[in-house]
Amino acid sequence: MQEKNTNQVRSRNEIFAERTSTKIYLEQPSDDNPYIASAAFCHGYDVSELMAKRSFTDVFYLLFRGELPAPDEVQILQQLMIALINPGPRHPATRAAMNAGIGKTDPAHILPIGAALLGGEYHSGGLVEEAMRFLRKQQNQDAAVCAAAHVESSTPIPGFGAYYGGIDLLANKHAAQLAQLPGAGKALKWGMQLSYALEAKGMGWLMPGVASAVLSDLGFQPKAGVCLYQLMGAPGVVAHGLELANKPITAMPFVSDENYFIER
C-alpha cells in the first residue's frame, strides 16, 4: 500500500449549516422558555386553526405540497387514501405486521416492520416513483400504442401489469371510480386507456400504479411516492398486526416438516 496521504487523516473543514432549516413548520417560542413552543404553524397556518377548520386530508396535502388543496383535489386524495388504507391480509407488508403481532413483538415495532415492506419494489410503494415518472412521460402519447409496444417487447410497465397471473380487479375498480371524480387528471385518465388496452392480455392497473396516477395529477414529487404509499397503507397493516397481538402463537399456521422442502 502507498503510505503517502492515505493514512494521514486531515479534516476537510467543510462548511456545514449553522442551523437546520425548514419551509414546513414554524414553532414559535414561548416568552419565558425558548425550548417550549407556544404555537406551531404548518406552511404559515396556525395548527390550532387548522384543527378547527380543516380536515386531516387537507392538512396531509398541505404538509407535502405547501398549499391547502382545492375541494376537487382533496376529494380525490381522500378517496385514494381510503382505497389504499389497507393492503389486505395477504400483502407481504401486512403478513410481516401479523408475524410481529402474533410473535408478541413490541407493538411499537409493528408499524416500522410493515412500513419497510410496504416500501418494497413488488406490488408496493417502491414502484411509485418510477410509475409517476413513466406516467408523466407517457401521458401525451397514444395509450394503445404504448400498451402494444410493451406487450410486444415483454417489458414491464411501471404501475401496470398482471397480479397473481391476471388483472387486479380491485385496482381497476378503484381507478375507474377515481377517474369519475372532478379532480381526476391527465395521468389517471391516460392510465384508464392504457389499462383498457392491456385488458385482453390479462393485465391492467396495479395499486401502486393507481396511487402514482393520482399523486402525479395532484402534483406530488415522484420521490415522495414511496413514502406516501407507505403512509397511506400503514393503518391497515398496523390494524392487522394488532389484531393478532393478543392471540396465542398457535393462532397462525406453522408449516409442518412434511411440507418443508429443501431444494438444492
Partner: protein, 529 residues
C-alpha cells in the same frame, strides 16, 4: 371505458401458486427438529457451529459461499472499523436520538442499520464501489491507463467523482491501514482490482491531493476475491450496527432532551409567513377558472347565512344579497363573500342583482330571501298581500328570469326555499303559506321548462328551524317561547332544526345532478304527521 369483472388470468400461474400453498420450498436450508439444521448444504450443528467463525457463517448466509477463516477475520476487521461510537455519523446519530427517545436497543440499532441504505454513505455505496472497480479493470485490461480511467469519470467541484475515493468530511482513511495490515499479515496477494485501485489512488494523489477511502479498498479486495457488487452489499448489511448500539446507550443513560438540545429558534424557518386560513383558496388560474359561483338571497342571516357559509367552504365563490345594507355588509365580511343590497320586493333591486352576473356563468342560485307575516285573515290588507307575494314569489321568479343566461351558461341549479307550512297548514299563516305554495308550484313547472337547457330547479321545505325569522313574526317573546315549546311537541324529532341542517340539504340538492322538480323536506318528520 368497459370494465370487465374478468381477470383474463394465466392458468399456469394459478396452478403453480396452488401447488405451493402451505408449503415452503427453500433453496437455502431449514430446521428439522430431531434431524438437524441445514444451511447451504452444511449441517449447521455438525459442520459449522463451533467449527467455523461467526463471519464465515455471515458470508455463507449472505452469498452461499464458504470463505477461509483468515478472510472472514479480515471482514470482521472491516466491521470493527465501522463500529465507531461517534454520534455525528448519520446512522449513529439515529441511535443517539433513539436513546433520547427511549426506544428499545433493538429498535435503535435496527433503524441505524436501515439508514446505511444510503446513496452517499454506509453500505449501499459498496455496490457502486465494486461496480466501479470491476468496470475499471475491464477497461484497464483493454488498454486504458489509470490516468485515462480517472479522466473519463464525471467530476464535481473540479475533482473526479468516484465512489470509493475522496472521502467526505476528512481526507485520508485510517481504516485502510488497519485492514491492509491484516491482509498483509495473512499474506493475501494483491489482486488486479486492488492493484488498479492503488494506481487510481496514485493519480488522485498526484493531481488532486486526494486518496482512496475504505469503500474503495474494501471494494477492490472483495472484487479480487470474486464477489459481485450485490454479494458485497449483502455481506455488509449490518456493518454499522455495533456503533449505533454504543451511541444509543450513551444517550439512553443521560437525561432525556440533553443530546444536542434545540431551541425553537435553532430551527431556521424559511417558509411562508404566518397567514390566516382561507375557507377556500384557488391555488392557480386553472382552479380559479374552475371555481363555481353561487348567489344566495337573504344570505345575511338564518338559513341563507348557513348556506352561504357552507357553499363557500365547498369552494364556491359566493355572493349574498339582503335588504338591510348594514347587516349584509357585516355578514359578507364575516363570511368572506361578496354582497349586494337588494330587496326582493323591489323589481329594480332584483334587476340590479341579476345584472351582477351578466356574461358570467352562475352555478347555483338559492332563492332563500323571504318574509313571514302571521296575520289573521280578517286583518290582511292589500299591502300585506303585495308585500308577501312580491317578496316570496314575484321577486324570486323575476330573479330567475334575469339570471337565466348565467344559469344556462353554467348548466346551473336553482334551489327555492319553501316551507313545511305549504302542506301542513297553520292558522294565521295564510299569506305566507300561499306564497310558498306558489313558489313550489313554480318550481315544478320551471323544472320541466328548464330541463332542456340543463338548468335544474328544486326546492327545500324546512319545518320549524331555529332562525331569526321567528322573531320577525311580530309576536312578543312570551308568545314565541310558548309557541316554540308547543311546536316542539308536534315535531317527531322533538326539536327545532338548525339552519346548518337545512344548508346541508340545499348544498346537496344543488349538487344532485339527476334531481329536478323535487321538493325535499327538512322538517324533523313533520311532513308525515
Amino acid at each position: 371505458m368497459g370494465m370487465s369483472e374478468k381477470t383474463f388470468s394465466d392458468q399456469h400461474i394459478i396452478d403453480t401458486l396452488n401447488a405451493r400453498r402451505g408449503k415452503i420450498i427453500s433453496k437455502t436450508g431449514g430446521w428439522f427438529p430431531g434431524k438437524g439444521v441445514f444451511s447451504h448444504g452444511y449441517s449447521m450443528m455438525d459442520d459449522l457451529v463451533g467449527k467455523k467463525s461467526y463471519f464465515q457463517i455471515v458470508v455463507l448466509n449472505a452469498t452461499g459461499k464458504m470463505i477461509s477463516t483468515e478472510f472472514a477475520h479480515w471482514i470482521e476487521v472491516g466491521y470493527s472499523c465501522l463500529s465507531w461510537p461517534d454520534p455525528r455519523i448519520w446512522c449513529n446519530q439515529i441511535g443517539a436520538l433513539a436513546g433520547g427517545a427511549r426506544t428499545s436497543a433493538i429498535a435503535a440499532t435496527a433503524m441505524g442499520v436501515l439508514a446505511t441504505d444510503s446513496r452517499t454513505y454506509g453500505v449501499y455505496p459498496l455496490k457502486e464501489g465494486v461496480q466501479f472497480i470491476q468496470t475499471a479493470l475491464a477497461s484497464h485490461q483493454q488498454g486504458l491507463s489509470a490516468e485515462q480511467i480517472v479522466a473519463n469519470v464525471p467530476s464535481r467541484g473540479g475533482k473526479p467523482l468516484i465512489v470509493g475515493y475522496i472521502r467526505p468530511i476528512a481526507k485520508g482513511d485510517e481504516r485502510i491501514r488497519a485492514m491492509a495490515s491484516i491482509a498483509e499479515g495473512y499474506g493475501f496477494p494483491v489482486g488486479p482490482h486492488l492493484e488498479l485501485a492503488m494506481a487510481i489512488e496514485g493519480v488522485l494523489q498526484e493531481k488532486y491531493d486526494e486518496g482512496m477511502n475504505v469503500n474503495g479498498y474494501v471494494s477492490a479486495v472483495m472484487a479480487d476475491h470474486g464477489f459481485s457488487p450485490d454479494e458485497v452489499y449483502q455481506i455488509f448489511t449490518t456493518l454499522v450496527a455495533s456503533g449505533v448500539t454504543a451511541c444509543y446507550l450513551d444517550t439512553y443513560h443521560q437525561a432525556p432532551d440533553t443530546f444536542l438540545p434545540l431551541r425553537c429558534d435553532d430551527i431556521d424557518y424559511q417558509g411562508v409567513a404566518v397567514r390566516p386560513i382561507p375557507d377556500f383558496q384557488p391555488t392557480n388560474q386553472r382552479e380559479l377558472a374552475m371555481q363555481k359561483i353561487a348567489l344566495v338571497t337573504g344570505g345575511n342571516s338564518g338559513i341563507g347565512y348557513a348556506t352561504a357559509k357552507l357553499l363557500k367552504a365547498r369552494g364556491y365563490a359566493v355572493t349574498i344579497s339582503g335588504r338591510n345594507a348594514q347587516r349584509v355588509a357585516e355578514a359578507a365580511n364575516e363570511l368572506g363573500v361578496d354582497a349586494v343590497v337588494a330587496d326582493m320586493a323591489n323589481p329594480a333591486d332584483v334587476a340590479r342583482l341579476a345584472s351582477h352576473f351578466q356574461g358570467k356563468a352562475l352555478n347555483a342560485l338559492v332563492n332563500n330571501a323571504g318574509i313571514a307575516r302571521f296575520i289573521p285573515m280578517q286583518f290582511c290588507s292589500a299591502a300585506d298581500f303585495d308585500e308577501v307575494m312580491n317578496t316570496n314569489v314575484r321577486g324570486p321568479l323575476d330573479l330567475i328570469k334575469g339570471l337565466l343566461p348565467a344559469l344556462e351558461k353554467a348548466k346551473g341549479s336553482i334551489t327555492n326555499v319553501s316551507s313545511a307550512v305549504v302542506n301542513n297548514g297553520l292558522a294565521n299563516a295564510v299569506l305566507y303559506a300561499a306564497s310558498k305554495g306558489a313558489l313550489e308550484a313554480a318550481t315544478k313547472s320551471l323544472a320541466i321548462e328548464l330541463a332542456p337547457v340543463n338548468v335544474r330547479v328544486n326546492a327545500v321545505s324546512p319545518g320549524a328551524i331555529d332562525t331569526p325569522i321567528i322573531t320577525k313574526f311580530g309576536l312578543d317573546e312570551q308568545t314565541i317561547a310558548a309557541a316554540k315549546a308547543h311546536m316542539e311537541t308536534q315535531i317527531p324529532l322533538r326539536r327545532y332544526g338548525k339552519a346548518e341542517e337545512v344548508a346541508e340539504i340545499i348544498a346537496a340538492q344543488l349538487e344532485s345532478s339527476y334531481t329536478t322538480g323535487a321538493i325535499w323536506a327538512v322538517d324533523g318528520g313533520v311532513n308525515v304527521t
